[in-house]
Symmetry: C2
Subunit: 352 residues, 2 copies
DNA sequence: TTGTACGCGTTATCAC
DNA sequence: GTGATAACGCGTACAA
């Protein structure tokens, strides 16, 4: 390369000059009030409760607001009213497409309503979860969403004490903290087992994390396998799933055990995709010599060959519904269905 | 499936009961002050400027803060002091691993300092960017980070007027709004061309977005190709890149043009990975009949076969440095290097 | 080193 | 339908 980097001569785009550019920040409510010839509280009402003003006053005030570019100070508003427009979402892992899709669904509901979305990553760590839940006490968001179910009693208590709407997701526990948009991980495991058994596979294995949702999917899988008189031929647990190579390593583990296996259910698609790649690298034909089944469809799953068969749900829809629940509660209403179950779906592709 | 979903019987984890659980929210500063036998301002100083208190007073006050679980109200604090602890980051696309890595680097610097990270997605849309920059005026964050360079003059002006630290990234323009952790996209394109030419490929093609960084990478690529007496044999522009299938479609386009091409540079790894998959699906051997080169290493790039050769940089490090710059400025200092250039790297794998 | 007085910008409350 | 007053909880400025 050159000694000197070449500049990126970015195209600057000039848009229509804003008419009377309010050069320095937003004016205060008092200034707007003076210009409009009303009191500050009337300006406030023009924004918060327009129906309480006469048509004429409202028009006049909104006009001045528009011209001056007034925006109310969120800190003052939150301090006085006790409500902020910040919604926090905690994601187990931002690298996962499914979680990101859920966030986008959530945002699609909340952003048009003027809520700001704050995102945190728990990294499947209890310690981090405790720290983040604690930080909520001082952050005082309007509502909270999790791409998980809270397992720590300490955190469940703390969340209840916040007195704000909370949505948990991604599992179907009996007693959510507040609201829930979930699906049954046990059923997902069972669904996986049934599909493999239907296809005629008999020596079934499982790869997944040993705790949390991995354990739930394993439970359903194992029960269904045993109900059909088959047995779980092998089990590989992984500590953490960060990339495809974890799936490759897990399959390598499985094979080195020497167990005879004709199908493996991986608790997520990252593991499953890695497993398909590893199998192919070893010259093991998928699905002829080894069938692979995943969970939680992701972009690469449908593109590798053979395509990955997977049990999945609509993550964007999950996020959207979570957003709707929060919205309803933030509007002061009680949602008609605060606990929702999302259907699971089996996408059959080439790997089984 | 069953009619009734099976519940996920999540394990509830009971941690050591917190000693004297402060059941209802955080107390106010005044309460803490009374208990400690000091004035409210002394409590404030114990947290903000501990060095101004005597050892004894500080210990006494901090002890009460600890026991009562006091946390100061961020809205009141922000309102009075004019500074908040909210840092906003705008990402072009949350589905991209590289951007997420950068966010994690950013968070690694800012979160330990007590800053909250708010994430927004611009989706490469000018309209969205305008709306988000506008929302900053009312949100009043402490600082802002972008995984892009701001092209709209309107937004550049608006950001300057906020008077807060701003870091742009992911390109190397001559005149950043404020601070920059960038790399040269033009150089990246040139680096790609040089590698392909060195390898002996002569009929080179480009696939990428027509604007923004895609255009910059194309510029460097094309210049270098022409400098070596070769020509750009084909060019496919794509409107938006959302998934691997966009890369597959783009390569299909390229091939249907009938141009004879022996190597293609894709402006990002998602496109490149899709191109490799499409080539393989068509029985085109990579790299023998077609070499593929990407930009911005991602998880799948190293795992497909052949592995994808790619020009890349350290996205986590980019985020980390952006965080350091913001931190320095938020501490009131002037960073010694407010404009930083990140080195590019060529990862040679099997696809070239 | 500690405290007093006041104000940050908005909205709840109640009066008109 | 509109306004006066006070208060949200904290930190700045200045005094002691």
């Amino acid at each position: 390369m050159k000694e000197q980097p070449r500049y990126d001569d970015v195209v600057r785009i000039e848009t229509s000059a804003s008419s009377s550019a309010p050069s320095t920040g937003s004016p205060r409510i008092e200034v707007v009030a003076r210009i409009a010839g009303v009191s500050p509280i009337t300006v406030s009402r023009a924004l918060r409760q327009p129906e309480k003003l006469s048509e004429a006053t409202r028009r006049k005030v909104l006009d001045v607001i528009e011209r001056t570019g007034y925006e109310s100070n969120p800190h003052a508003r939150a301090l006085r009213s006790g409500r902020s427009t910040l919604v926090t979402a905690f994601v187990s892992n931002m690298m996962s497409q499914q979680f990101v899709l859920a966030l986008q669904g959530l945002a699609s509901e909340l952003e048009p309503q003027g809520y700001e979305l704050m995102i945190g990553q728990t990294s499947y760590s209890y310690a981090k979860e405790i720290a983040m839940v604690r930080s909520l006490r001082s952050l005082r968001p309007a509502a909270v969403m999790f791409t998980s179910v809270i397992e720590l009693e300490e955190n469940r208590r703390a969340l209840r004490e916040l007195g704000i709407p909370v949505v948990e997701t991604w599992a179907f526990p009996r007693d959510p903290v507040d609201m829930l948009v979930g699906f049954s991980n046990v059923d997902a495991g069972a669904m996986a087992a049934r599909h493999l058994l239907d296809r005629g596979y008999r020596r079934l294995a499982f790869i997944g994390r040993s705790g949390g949702r991995g354990a739930l999917r394993l439970k359903g899988f194992r029960e269904e396998v045993e109900n059909h008189g088959a047995t779980l031929a092998a089990l590989v647990t992984v500590p953490e799933v960060r990339s495809l190579s974890d799936g490759r390593a897990a399959l390598a583990d499985l094979l080195s055990d020497g167990a005879t296996v004709d199908a493996v259910f991986c608790a997520n698609d990252l593991l499953a995709t890695g497993a398909v790649i590893e199998a192919r690298a070893r010259g093991i034909s998928v699905p002829d010599h080894l069938a692979v089944l995943g969970f939680g469809d992701n972009d690469a799953s449908g593109q590798i060959s053979p395509g990955l068969t997977t049990v999945t749900m609509d993550a964007y829809e999950l996020g959207r519904r979570a957003g709707q629940l929060l919205k309803t509660r933030l509007d002061g209403s009680a949602p008609s269905a605060p606990i929702q179950l999302l259907p699971l779906e089996l996408l059959v592709r080439g790997s089984t």
